[in-house]
Each structure stands twice: as C-alpha cells, then as structure tokens.
Symmetry: C2
Subunit: 456 residues, 2 copies
C-alpha cells in the first residue's frame, strides 16, 4: 500500500485524509512562491484602473487557465483611477532639507507651485482635533504618531485614522495641507502610502506621508529651533490626479464540485496593489497562496466534491470595491458559500485559525483543528470578520475564517516601494500554502457545514 | 582622594591614567551622538560644493567654537560640484515596470529623451570585459554582481570596481549606458550611489545604480522571457550635471599642546556626504566621534601636552580631495604628526586596533593596548593604511592607526537615502567615542613616539 493511503488510514475522517494528503504534496511544492514571483516580475505594480492593473487581470486569467482551473471568468468592477505623479517636500527654513514624501491614495494635488507654509506638529489626531484653530489656520499639519511593532499588527488600527481622516480633520482646523508620519514600523526612508478619504462637506486639502526617518528628522528640527518663535517652513508639491473611471475585474477560477457543485468553498486574495512597490506582500503573496492551495488540492485529491472558487478581487486598496461589487453581482448565490476566506497579510507563517461558524457545529471538525496544530496553527476565536474582502459576507450569513499570520515585519514594507519579492521567505509562504490547502481539501471533501455565520 | 586619582594610581604610566580618566567621563557622555544629530538635523545632505556643503562648513566652525577648541580654522579646497538631477528607469518590454535608479556620482546625463535599448546582463566586470563586443554594441550593460555581508566589509573592494570602472569598460565594449546592481548588502529598493570615473581616452556614457531588489527583479525577467530571442528593453533617463568648480573647506579645530605644541595628534573624519541621505553613518558618525573625543579629553585631562588636531575633511566622497589638498598645503609640517587616524565606517562598535608604527617601538604602549581590551578592542596588525583621508600619510612617514568597526550592516545604508540618524545606536557610537578618547588622551599626554611609519 502506498504512502498516501497509509496517511489516509490514520485519519479520523475521509475529509482529513485528503487534508493530510495535500499537506504532504504541498510541502514539496513551491507553487505559491512561483505564482507571486511571476506576478511581481511580469506585472509588478497594479493600482486599480491602471495599465498595470489591466496587465494583472490578463496575467491572472492566463495563470488560472495554465493551472487547469475548470472555469476561469471575470466580473467587471468600475474603479476610479488615481495617478500619483510627482511629489516633493522640503524644509525651506531654518534647516533646508529634502524630505521623502508620498501622496496618500486619492489625495488632490497641490497648486503647481506647491504649498509653502509653517508646520504645526501634533502627536495624534485627537490633539489636532482638540487644538485651537488659530494655531492651525493656514499652516501645514504634521501628524507624528508612532506605530508599534506587533505580531498581530494590532497597532495599525490605532494609527491608520491619521492617514484616512487626517486631511478632513486638518481642513476643519483650517490647514492648507496635511502630512503624516508613515503608518509603518520600519526605520527607513520609505513613505507608506494608502487610501485617504475626503468629506464632501469639508474643504479638500492635499495629504501625503513622510517616511518615519524623515518624521524623526522633522520632529528633531522643532527641538533644534533657536526659539519657539522661529517657524519651520515646509514646501510641498504633489501632482497627483484623478484619472477618471476605468473598468477593472474580479478574476475568478473554479474547480467545479463533482458531487455538490453548488456548495462553494470561497478562497480569495486581492489582485490590485499600490503603485510604488511590486505588491509582493500586499497582496501577491495572497494571490500565490490561495491559487496554489486550490491547484494543489485538485492535484492531490482529484475533482473536489464541492466547488473550490478562487477569487482574485479588484480594487481592495481603494475600499474593497471589487468585493462589494461581487456581493452586488452575486447576491442570490451568497447562500451557497460554505465559508469564505482571504489571505491578505503578507507571507508570515500562520499561527492561528479564527472562525465565524455556526456555534453549534463549530467544533465538529476537531480532527482538522488537531491536524492544523501539527502546522503550528492553534484554534482561536469564533468572532472573526475574515479578511477585508470577505468581511461583509457574515452580514449575509456566510461563514468566514481568518488565518492569522505573523505580521511582525509586515508593516515595515506595507504600501511602500520596498514591498518586493525578496521580502517573502519561500519556507514561510509554503507554510501558508499548506495550511490553506489542508483546510480547502478538508472542506471541499467533507459534509461539514458551518452555515449560517452567527451575527456580529 | 577622589575617584579620578584612584583610577590614576592603578595605571602603569601617567598617560594611561589620563586614558582611564577620560574613559570614565566618556561613558557618561552622549556628545558624539549629539554632534551627529545636530549635523544631520540642522544641515543634512552635503555633497561637495553644494549649498549643503557650505552650510556644513559653517556648522562645523560654529560647533568647534562652541565646544571651546583653542583654534578653529579652515583651509580652502577646490571641488567639482556635481548635481544629481532627475533619474528614472523603466523596463519598456516585455514586462513594463519602473526600476529605482540613482545616478552614480560624476556621471554624465543621458540625452533629454533618455536612452532606450536592449539590456545585456553580466555577472561581473570580468565577464563584461571578456564578452564579444558584438553582443554589447549599442546596448545597455547591466552589471549584476552580488555583495556579501561581512563584519569587516571585505567584499566592498571586490564589487566596487563595477561602480568605479563600469562605465569605462562598458563603453569600451560599445555600450550606450551602464547600470550596476547597487554595491550594498541590503535587500531593499534604495539605490547606492558613489563615485565613478571616466577615462579621457574612452567615450563617456551615463552610469547608474539600481537597487538590489530591482536588480533581482530585472534578472528574473531574463528567466521569465518567452525565449532568449525576446529582448528586454530598458529606458533610462538621468539628468545629472557638472555644476562647475566651487570652494569647499577642510575645517580644523585644535587644542594646542601645553608642552609640545608642535607635536600633533591628528584625528579626523570627513564632513561631506552623498546627497540622498543625511550622511549620518557616512560620515556624520565619524565627525561626532573624533570631535567628541577631543573635547572629552580636554575636559577630562585639561590642556593636552601635545596638540590635538581634529580635521573634518572636505570632499572625501569624490576622491579624498580635501585630504590631498591638506597634504599639499601642509607638506612641511607633516613630520610633526605623531600619528593620524580617521573614523569613516559608520557607528558600529570598534573591535580591533591596527597600527602603522615604527616596528621597534610598536609594542611600547602595552598598557594602552591592555586597557583597550576592556573596551572589546584587540590589537591587530601593524600594516594598516589608516582610514581613507589619512591613507596617503604613511608615504610621508606619518604613523597611522585604524580602529576597525563592526560593519555588518554598514553597507545596507552606505550612500543611500536611508543613511539617516536612526541607524546609529547611541551605545555603539559612545563605545567609539570612548575608544578614540582613550587613545587620544594617552597619545596627547605621553612621550610615546611611533614615528616614522614603516614603508608599505
Ligand atoms: Zn492588502
Ligand atoms: Zn494594502
Ligand atoms: Zn566616508
Ligand atoms: Zn562614502
């Protein structure tokens, strides 16, 4: 008797046998790494609606077809295309120096001649909001909040409001522009971009991020001033523009279920990226992980009983646009989704499985949970909202899971030019691939049904 | 009896007592860090001949005066000012992507419309030189040699000829331009600049460095080509320019010797930096270390018996220009230099003292060598050429020393925008300061005379 059937014979359930079989083959496969390598080398940056995005869509269709998915199709998503353009910042006085700046995604441009004004520094969005308007009026606001390193990336949520809402709050206080300390954990001169928002009732002002090293430098200038009466004058010039509506696509590949084709295992990532890096960690890694997982399951177990659907979402970065479109376009069939999940936190190893499963059956796949422990993955809570692009699905009763990854270094690279392939360790992305493949195999080959998701 | 005289009484010689006294006070002082912080925050980038360089000279004079040096003066140095300008590189086909590029220092510009040509990749300068000219003619040469990480930075010398001589060798083979994989040990998207050379007998072509991550990406494109017949087309546009002659200065501060004012302890660093970072490691750290060492010695031991001369050299980066000028301007008094040394390898801790002392007396300061062991510094060879700006002095019989620093991470940041203050650990630069102060105190207060330096 062969090795695979030996493994199978040790399994508690037939479904687990399949999971263990794909575990073995995945541990010999570099497919997820090869996929993200192909995406970053052959496509690279792919901001929604850009030429890179269009090439990414073509690449994804070709890749899914090449891998032998039964069905490969795409669904249109209307996206607003934003172009970064030139960006420049310099301290004019008292200590003339260039600062490294990136426009935040969606920011309006400065006038062509730039904006030159006094800088007022705040350590948090709260202190900006609480400030005397007279001290802010006409100035450039500098939000200088540090972000702490953390395995789970828990401090992102605390600092990201600076990026998302800094422009609105600074404009309410009469500022001409806002710059933020990058939302990142590195000490380097890469600025971290990311989406920002305007409010139609508040004047729009330009918004950029400076690198953490430049934020330290600028903050130190305040301490080096001869007197507090001496102003720090900054000149910023950013020529970003709104390039209008474009069509992007959610790209979808399926291995159709042999027994229950209407029951869907939905695993996903987002195809778009920011424009300065090659989107290796965010979210090429996820694209590689879920695509490889589906393919490895097919190769190891044959045609799945349930349908495995891989969705590579459009335009996550500018507000889950592809994901919301998917819900609108597929409202009637959401009920067929057994569970949904997204990989979108880089390629660090998975250490925890969180779920949002019907409470009464949540512990039924105990054999799967036990098998995942051999991969270093512990069972966590049952209250997750899943990854960003599946986070709206529990509202429709769709169960979700989240495979929590070690994100200790994720925010060193996130949304910077430095998000490139070399940041992915082959052994780490392989562990991700294996965990996703095991869960996908188990769920595609079992009758376990966690529907409906409990309400939040 | 007070603490200092207790320490003194345990010393073998009076000179050692002074060294131990300044060791104690240095270990409570952050002066070297404060100096490099002031330089990077208040001046920042200072490429020879630039406005930043002029500000750095003024800063240095003011700083030495503020610290109470007896004599502060400057000596003019004619330097060629080079301006980086705009730089851009993109793969045109088959995989359109931007690459991060920096012009090498001294490079000519491309035509205003850039250069668009096929890329030919070589793994070393030797393989470029050995190539069939027909394969290179009219193309863009890509020199893709990796640099290994090393505590002593020993692989810099092996790879830096790509940067210095790549343009000449590529032009000899008929190339239109050359790009090199950055001479650096990081995996990031910072390009490492640095000086390059032309040869008057060979056509000048533009030369740039791409980041290591971009070099990996570009190399991977060759592997992803559909066939080897498919060319990789690159467009590079760099608008560097020679901005003509300017006057810079070697800035010099002295504590004049009370007993032997004509005997000089020469400790040095270079004041200039490349233009993309703030020159914290290269060589703000050195400026902080030697300036602080001299000041701490003065404070701890009073007026030194011999003169302590701190030289902050101009224009090291473009070929030791200030150092050669110093030799020309001071030829007659070089014989008075007891020893010379330069700190120019960042702020990693010192682990070895190399010397170039007259052989017969080299081991006389055994008590100093033993005391340095308590700082983690072992005695090394007697064949060093010292740091860059003092490397020509042994030819004139001037003894030199080299304090070897841990350079494991130095070439991650060297000559990049990422050479900023946050890369310096206060405890590391303090160890440097203390070791330099101990040696300076010992040599300034003793009769030990290592002249003349043995010939190389
Ligand atoms: Zn993402
Ligand atoms: Zn993102
Ligand atoms: Zn240097
Ligand atoms: Zn240098």
């Amino acid at each position: 008797e062969d090795k695979a059937s030996e493994i199978a014979s040790t399994a508690n359930t037939p479904a687990l046998a399949y999971a263990l079989k794909v575990k073995e083959s995945s541990q010999k496969s570099a497919l997820s790494y090869d996929i993200v390598k192909s995406l970053t080398v052959e496509v690279g940056p792919r901001i929604p609606g850009s030429q890179g995005d269009k090439r990414a869509v073509a690449w994804a269709e070709a890749k899914l077809n090449d891998l032998g998915f039964d069905k490969v199709y795409k669904e249109p998503v209307r996206v607003r295309n934003w172009e970064r353009g030139f960006a420049d910042a310099k301290v004019v006085s008292p200590f003339p120096q260039e600062l490294i700046i990136s426009a935040l995604g969606g920011s309006i441009a400065t006038p062509e001649s730039g904006i030159e004004a006094k800088v007022v520094m705040f350590d948090s969005l709260e202190s900006l909001i609480a400030a005397d308007k007279a001290t802010v009026q006409g100035n450039i606001v500098f939000l200088n909040t540090k972000m702490q390193r953390d395995k789970a990336g828990r401090f992102y949520g605390k600092v990201v409001p600076n990026r998302v809402s800094g422009a609105v709050e600074a404009a309410k206080q009469g500022a001409q522009a806002v710059i933020i300390r990058s939302v990142g954990t590195d000490n380097s001169r890469f600025a971290h971009t990311g989406v920002m928002r305007y409010d139609d009732t508040v004047e729009k002002i330009p918004a950029g991020a400076i690198s953490t090293a430049d934020a330290d430098n600028l903050a130190a200038m305040f301490a080096s001033q001869q007197s507090s009466a001496e102003d720090i004058i900054l000149n910023i010039n950013m020529q970003a523009k709104d390039a209008g509506w474009q069509t992007s696509y959610n790209v979808i590949g399926e291995f159709t279920g042999s027994e229950k084709p209407d029951e869907v295992i939905l695993i996903s990532a987002h195809l778009d990226s920011w424009d300065e890096g090659t989107g290796a960690l965010d979210d090429g890694a996820g694209v590689g992980i879920v695509t490889a997982a589906a393919k490895l399951v097919k190769d190891a177990v044959g045609q799945p009983k349930r349908t495995i659907r891989v969705i590579l979402y459009a335009a996550e970065e500018i507000g889950l646009v592809g994901a919301y479109q998917y819900v609108r376009s597929n409202r009637d069939t959401l009920k067929n989704i057994i569970f949904a999940a997204e990989s979108d936190f880089g390629a660090g190893q998975i250490y925890q499985l969180d779920t949002r499963f019907a409470e009464d059956v949540r512990n039924n796949p105990a054999d799967l949970y036990a098998a995942l422990q051999s991969m270093g993955v512990e069972l966590g809570n049952n209250t997750t909202s899943g990854g960003p692009d599946v986070s709206m699905l529990p509202n429709y009763g769709v169960p979700v899971i989240a495979l929590k990854q070690d994100g200790t270094y994720y925010f060193d690279y996130h949304h910077t030019p430095n998000d490139t392939l070399d940041k992915i360790k082959p052994e780490d992305i392989q562990q991700n691939q294996t965990v996703w493949a095991m869960i996908t195999a188990y769920m595609a080959m079992s009758d376990f049904d966690p529907r409906p998701a409990p309400k939040g």
